[in-house]
């Protein structure tokens, strides 16, 4: 593969290849996707490592994310300051974890963070209720939501502390082998 591109230095490209699961071609393709979101904000030359952050509104308008009920949480989890505004590094990280080459543990770790709405490293009842409402588009009555959350905690909580820790979540993943193929965004 010739070094005909002038966007990144070879060291930068190597670093990106090491840190994500993408090949050179895919990294460049993702860069063009990132740039297409806001051509006036993103410079075509990243060799001097510019500090460019795209606001959440632009990220959330991507066709891969715009109808996903969890898009805001995804952007928040992968953004540097937790506010949904993403740099190119965050952008590449996000799609790298959501690609099909990421291992199960990594995906489980990030899925857990996505469903943890209050960022306290535990999925508590309120987190679960928000998740269920997003999953069902608020079609269930509050009573049904409460029952479902209780069931989930009862079935998944192994150490009986009333909330789900990362280990409980990983234990649940083992019983759902579809997780690897569903926690995946093709870009």
């Amino acid at each position: 593969m010739g070094n005909k591109q002038t966007i990144f230095t070879p060291e930068q490209l190597d670093a990106y290849q090491d840190c994500t699961f993408f090949t050179r071609k895919e990294i460049l393709r993702l860069f063009y996707r990132y740039r297409d979101l806001a051509p006036q904000l993103v410079p075509p030359d990243y060799t001097d490592k510019p500090d460019v952050t795209l606001p959440y509104q632009l990220i959330g308008s991507m066709p891969e994310l715009k109808d996903n009920p969890f898009r805001q949480r995804i952007a928040e989890v992968f953004s540097e300051h937790g506010d949904g505004n993403m740099t190119l590094d965050d952008f590449l990280d996000m799609f790298s974890v959501l690609s099909e080459m990421a291992p199960r543990d990594l995906k489980a770790y990030y899925a857990f963070k996505i469903y943890d709405f209050n960022n306290d490293d535990y999925i508590c009842k309120s987190d679960l209720e928000k998740t269920v409402n997003k999953l069902t588009r608020n079609e269930l009555t509050p009573e049904e939501v409460r029952l479902v959350c209780e069931k989930v905690i009862y079935e998944a909580d192994v150490d009986n502390d009333g909330k789900l820790s990362l280990e409980d979540f990983q234990h649940m993943i083992i019983r759902a082998p579809d997780f690897l193929s569903t926690f995946h965004i093709r870009i």
Binding site: M1, D18, C19, T20, F21, F22, T23, K25, P63, E64, L65, K66, D67, N68, P69, F70, E80, L98, M101, P103, D105, L106, Y109, A111, T131, V132, L135, T136, R137, E139, L140, E144, L147, V148, K151, V152, E155, A156, V158, D159, N160, D161, E167, F169, Q170, H171, M172, I173, I174, R175, A176, P177, D178, L180, S181, T182, F183, H184, I185, R186
Partner: protein
């Protein structure tokens, strides 16, 4: 300790550290290989659109189709390079004329081309005098043999990999609650599909909650009898149709054996493959209608009914393929003149390929049929039936590959056409599936189905052909021998005269033709399987014990934390500070021990 270290790093460092873990190194090596296969980005965009609109389960069908296509490309390359290319060097001139009808019947002009076994020479080809020679007989039999061995190992490893990745959990009836956090399909990006999925999930949750609250219904005796009677009737009906289909195919085939060589009867010979594919296309509709009947009686147990439907289809297809094989193998025994063997046998395979292509093209009438049955709703894409069609087509290809080495090439073309036709019909006609399919289980079972009935059955048919069937005396690379395998035995006899290749003869005599070798090999394989099974059982028991220990540990932890909290709140008594301190340190030590056991358990899992 690892988690502690990770927790102390910042977020980005943590990400890099996780990605540097050894488990991911293997994936990165695979990635550099995949850079060279960017040709296979064919359909990447298509797959993305399908996954976005219909979800992962329908996508798994298309991924399976793509895998079969790659597999056929590989088969074609092997057969073409080792069998067909040398044949081009020693080709005989083709003096038959080409009329358009050959594309349908496969007779006439095509008889003397490389499409058929009859055309291949039995000579040892050499380009120059005393130059390196190429023995066509051995090449033919060894290429086919090695090809099947490679297929065997490819299938075995794909199955094992798929099984490992999607560890099949026998708990079929676990409710939705335990998988709620794993259920959202991030692939779906179409707004309507997202809304539909959300509706599905809410419906499933409501059903799940309702089922819990519902009291156990006691069916009255008459209702139970009615249910059993309906089940029996459905089974009898499905087996009866399968038997009737087989009888039809059998009588048609007997009719075909008395043939004349004119145009009319050649067209009449097309009837058999067309009828076989029509039966394969329309009888499954009848089976799904039966399934609807049964569904009314047993409202739950969706997966059980689905498996039943697939099982009946498999029985139908296996029986039709069996009858066809029996008919082909008997053609040689029944027919009198040798010329018949050369021409008829191979025409059958061409008809076969046509029939496979035809049955895929029956999709539009099929869809109209489903619309009529489903009361003006858009039909769903029936993954099970479509996958069975693919496996059926691949089985027929494998059966025919011995006699028509370019069959994988035809199959390649047909699969590519099927890919695009199915995609177009999917987009235009279907809605996303309503049931939540267990994609991972299904992918593994597709592979399993491909391997067990299909591939192993083909191996037995090929085995019978090579060892028992007398090849024709006028055409084909094995003319003059009493069975195809004799080519190998004669070669070994020749090799005995050369001292340098005595080891080959030794291996042949003592390993390949000795029954003792295969017996001991089977015993060793069985022992290893038994050991692995016992290890798996042992691990299951240990996991259960550890889980119980963990639950008890959780309770203890809570009690101890409460005690700690109480102790810290007590007013400090100067007379007994040491006792309190000792108690606190003891409690902290027990807590740390619990945490340690926790991490061990999770690591074990």
């Amino acid at each position: 300790k690892l988690v502690g270290n990770l927790a102390s790093m910042s977020t980005s460092e943590r990400i890099k550290a996780i990605q540097k873990m050894p488990g991911t190194m293997k994936k990165k090596r695979e990635i550099s290989l995949s850079e060279y296969f960017h040709l296979l980005q064919l359909g990447h965009k298509t797959l993305k659109i399908i996954g976005a609109n219909f979800g992962t389960s329908v996508l798994s069908y298309f991924l399976f189709l793509k895998w079969l296509l790659t597999f056929n490309i590989f088969s074609f390359i092997i057969n073409f390079s080792f069998i067909t290319v040398p044949q081009f060097v020693a080709a005989e001139p083709n003096n038959l004329s080409f009329t358009g009808l050959e594309l349908f019947t496969g007779a006439g002009y095509f008889q003397k081309t490389v499409l058929y076994y009859g055309f291949y020479s039995n000579a040892t080809i050499s380009k120059t005098e005393n130059g390196p020679s190429y023995n066509m007989q051995l090449a033919y039999i060894f290429t086919t043999g090695i090809y099947f061995v490679i297929c065997f190992f490819i299938l075995l490893f794909s199955m094992a990999k798929s099984f490992c990745r999607n560890f099949i959990n026998p708990q079929i009836h676990s409710g939705i609650a335990s998988k709620l956090l794993c259920i959202w399909d991030f692939n779906i990006t179409n707004e309507k599909a997202v809304k539909l999925k959300q509706k599905n999930i809410s419906m499933q949750i409501k059903e799940d909650l309702a089922e819990e609250n519902r009291e156990v219904l006691n069916f009255s005796a008459t209702q139970r009898v009615v249910r059993i009677v309906i089940h029996l009737v459905c089974w009898v009906a499905s087996l009866g149709t399968a038997v009737a289909a087989c009888a039809g195919v059998y009588f048609l085939s007997i009719n075909n054996l008395k043939h004349k060589n004119d145009l009319e009867s050649q067209a009449a010979m097309l009837v058999l493959p067309i009828v076989a594919s029509l039966l394969n296309t329309f009888i499954p509709f009848f089976y799904s209608w039966l399934g609807h009947l049964e569904r009314f009686q047993t409202p739950g147990h969706q997966i059980y009914l689905l498996l039943l439907f697939l099982f009946r289809n498999i029985i139908l297809k296996i029986s039709i393929v069996g009858i066809l094989c029996y008919y082909w193998l008997n053609i040689v025994a029944v027919s009198e003149s040798q010329d018949v063997i050369c021409s008829d046998f191979y025409k059958e395979f061409y008809h076969l390929e046509n029939s496979i292509v035809l049955c895929f093209f029956f999709s539009p009438p099929r869809i109209i049929g489903t619309i009529v049955c489903m009361n003006l709703g858009l039909p769903e894409f029936d993954i099970g039936r479509n996958v069975l069609d693919l496996i059926y087509a691949q089985t027929l290809t494998w059966i025919g590959i011995l006699f028509s080495p370019l069959l994988p090439g035809i199959q390649m073309i047909s699969f590519s056409i099927v890919f695009y036709v199915k995609k177009v019909s999917l987009m235009m006609n279907c809605q996303p599936p309503r049931k939540l399919w267990r994609t991972a289980h299904m992918t593994t079972s597709f592979m399993l189905l491909l391997f067990f009935p299909s591939f192993l059955g083909v191996l037995s048919v090929i085995g019978v052909t090579i060892w028992r069937l007398k090849p024709s005396e006028e055409c084909g690379p094995f003319r003059g021998l009493s069975s195809m395998y004799d080519a190998v035995s004669e070669w070994i006899k020749i090799l005995e005269n050369y001292t340098t290749s005595k080891w080959v003869v030794w291996i042949y005599r003592n390993l390949i033709t000795s029954e003792l070798f295969f017996f001991s090999l089977s015993v060793v394989v069985l022992i290893i399987t038994y050991l692995y099974w016992q290890i798996a059982e042992g691990r299951k028991t240990v996991a259960k014990l550890l889980q119980k220990q963990l639950m008890n540990g959780g309770k203890e932890k809570r009690l101890l934390l409460e005690k700690l909290w109480v102790l810290q709140r007590k007013p400090k008594n100067p007379s007994a500070p040491r006792g309190q301190g000792q108690q606190v340190s003891l409690i902290v030590q027990v807590l740390l021990f619990q945490l340690h056991a926790w991490y061990d358990f999770m690591g074990f899992l």
